[in-house]
Subunit: 450 residues, 2 copies
């Protein structure tokens, strides 16, 4: 038997005054309402009697020829509190009905009348719901004033209810909003990139058909399949990594109040998510088995994508100094995107273009490449913004670039090392040269003063 | 005079052996190379002489009838190191040229040969650039072995160069990638929402014309202009707030490894950025003056949008417990989006629809509303996911909802309180009722077990 039912039956059996819903309990409640500062303040404008109907009607109320409880409420005081009779309902009043269980929860367990009203446990039989919800504070004060039962059968849950998820010291309010105080700088480089992203970055990976890709896959030799799966497994993890690892950077940019930049990076992030989806679809729908990371992700790849990249970015959680931002952006934008991804796209083309293989994959890669060119442009712009303000960091930044370029070339070595003869006639030397050229293009755009 | 130049001139003036580029210095360098474990390991496969040309040729080298330095390198050792003569260049060798300053930077200041090669300070006159870059480690070891100058004129920056932005303990590597190990769950609710977002959420705020909006604005009464500006200033800050405040939630979801959810939230975030852009454009291009936040953002609005919302979300930075996630999502998705924004859209329609005013604004608001319906659907799904796993939180969550609904209704009161007669015939009672209904619709979708 539930505690409410148990308690209520106990209240009925024991006719002693002072128990729940007894005459003296009702009078105690009235006195308590009139002592409540909270009620008198919040109900100052409430001037209409309230009737609490019990539906279905418990025997106890039947025995009193009553349908529930009548409260006459005037300007923050309760002038009368008694058993309600059915004729009361016809007068000018607000009528609420609920089951005995719900009334007990409201009167004794600190449950919230607004929520009960919204979830249908409490019904408004007469009166305006808006009026009632607007006076939610007054209603709560009214119910809170009800004398508690003398026993301990009903657990009072109000203590455990307070402050859910709010046990932290208050932190990070907004001081002001940029768009309110000064609008957006539509002429800024990030907003111009954002305009491009809204036009060129809205392609849908799901629209790309892999029909021919599937038949091409079946016709490939085992070696050819291996290298396609190899490269795709590098992109799969790579795109997921950048989708995850961009988050600390966008947070720092937002915290610095650079709303135009944050707006651009939202498109950047969304595009990375689509790239992740694209490669996941390709692997699931064409290759049809998940790649074996331990097989295809070598030590140098793992070092960069499993460790250095996430660490360079998540370091921003604790330290958003220019040096940390430079490492984050150089690792992400210059090496992962600007050198390795670019070289990977070229590998797909070299393998597939001449023989018109896997048009779906190539179509997606072409779109990816377009998106990435905006990402890299933003990254270089960000690096230059930081370099311009921090000339002392130039020498160490150059060393960082060298370290990262070595990471990139090591990955390219590592890929080719697995093959005696690389399918599709790919040559390591050509790819190393291509990667270095990509890197060099990015370098040339940096404003390094030596 | 720069320190390199100064040093070099000093070296030229002082002919003592042991100084830079003297015969004995060259022999010291050769010995040092042959003692270098780093060089012998990394250059094991290098078997071709290297010539370092000085361009323009300094007098010191001219006096030796030399064009630079010749190093014969065999399987990780240096068999000969001497002044180079011009005929050496014609032999089978790799030739690099640089200015005296650049050579000094490379040989004495730990500057990086790969970067010098990429930025043009070091030129490859003969040989393969890829070969050279592939042997970057060997080249660095070769240069590092050069005897340091005896003076202290040249600052050695190699110490300050190390570890830029990398002074944090390593943290948060990726253990594995979901897309690699198990692919994406395209049947999950978040991925289905993502599919919708890629179709319906790609509208471009910049495509919306405000031409008629501008003429409508000019024809409005001062009171009408005031309420349009009032409502727009609430949306302006509101959209910027949600664009900023979503970031801690997406981070938590990503950290929990819920890649499908993160993918969906990237579209959610991108849409919020576009909503921010939309209202910024409307205010800048139609109203043409920034709204006065102090005038339009009342105490209850400020409490929610400047404090409670950012705090509920940024609390996730330190505590991603279910209770904190519930408060974050209830505040963001149920109240700000699901109750207040929805009511605000309705206010625009009620003011503008009947008189066919401001079609650009209405078009944008219609798109916003579509986007928001996906956001709210995700929020409810998220709340239900957490509620299902945490039944103990149900009672306190209900109290939280009541607290937040009160925040929302207080904001609506506060808005209408500023007007004796609200322009366009808006009525407070109608809006309170609408807001409560929106809230109730959301409530009904929650799996609260009482």
């Amino acid at each position: 038997m539930n505690p409410f039912k148990e308690y209520f039956i106990k209240g009925q059996q024991n006719k002693d005054e002072g128990h729940l819903f007894s005459d003296s309990w009702l009078q105690e409640w009235r006195k308590s309402i009139n002592k409540s500062e909270s009620y008198s303040k919040q109900a100052a404008a409430w001037n209409i009697p309230l009737i609490l109907l019990f539906k279905p009607l418990p025997d106890f109320f039947k025995s009193k020829n009553s349908v529930g409880i009548y409260l006459d409420l005037r300007s923050g005081t309760c002038t009368e509190l008694r058993y309600a009779v059915s004729d009361d309902i016809e007068t000018n009043c607000v009528v609420l009905s609920a089951s005995e269980k719900s009334w007990l929860q409201l009167l004794q367990s600190g449950k919230n009348p607004t929520l009960f009203l919204l979830n249908g446990k409490l019904k408004l039989e007469k009166g305006s719901k808006t009026l009632l919800v607007s006076n939610a504070g007054a209603a709560k004060a009214l119910l809170d004033a009800a004398p508690s039962n003398s026993g301990d059968q009903i657990p009072n849950v109000s203590e455990q209810e307070s402050n859910i998820g709010n046990n932290r010291p208050t932190s990070e309010p907004h001081e002001r909003f940029s768009t309110v105080t000064k609008g957006l700088d539509f002429e800024s480089f990030p907003m111009k990139l954002f305009q491009k992203a809204k036009i060129y970055g809205v392609w849908n990976p799901s629209d790309i058909s892999f029909e021919k890709d599937r038949s091409d896959w079946k016709n490939m030799s085992a070696d050819e399949q291996t290298i396609i799966m190899h490269l795709s497994s590098l992109f799969l993890a790579g795109e997921e990594a950048v989708t995850l690892d961009l988050l600390p950077l966008i947070r720092v940019i937002a915290k610095e109040g650079r709303i135009e930049e944050e707006i651009y990076i939202t498109s950047f992030l969304w595009e990375e998510a689509k790239h992740t989806e694209f490669f996941a679809r390709f692997v699931m729908e064409v290759i049809k088995t998940q790649p074996d990371a331990d097989r295809f992700h070598g030590p140098f790849y793992k070092k960069l994508f499993y460790e250095k990249l996430p660490q360079a970015l998540s370091a921003l959680d604790h330290d958003r100094s220019p040096a940390v931002q430079l490492r984050a952006s150089a690792t992400y934008n210059m090496i992962v995107e600007g050198t390795l991804a670019e070289t990977g796209y070229e590998a797909y083309y070299k393998m597939l273009d001449d023989h018109d293989l896997m048009p779906g994959l190539r179509e997606g890669v072409l779109k990816l490449k377009q998106d990435e060119s905006r990402h890299i442009a933003y990254g270089l712009w960000l690096i230059n913004r930081i370099l311009e303000e921090n000339e002392d960091l130039h020498p160490s930044f150059e060393n960082l670039l060298d370290e990262l370029l070595t990471d990139a070339t090591n990955i390219i070595h590592e890929i080719f090392d697995r093959y005696d003869t690389v399918p599709f006639g790919l040559e390591e030397e050509w790819f190393l040269d291509y990667a270095i050229k990509q890197f060099q293009h990015r370098m040339e755009k940096l404003k390094l003063n030596n």
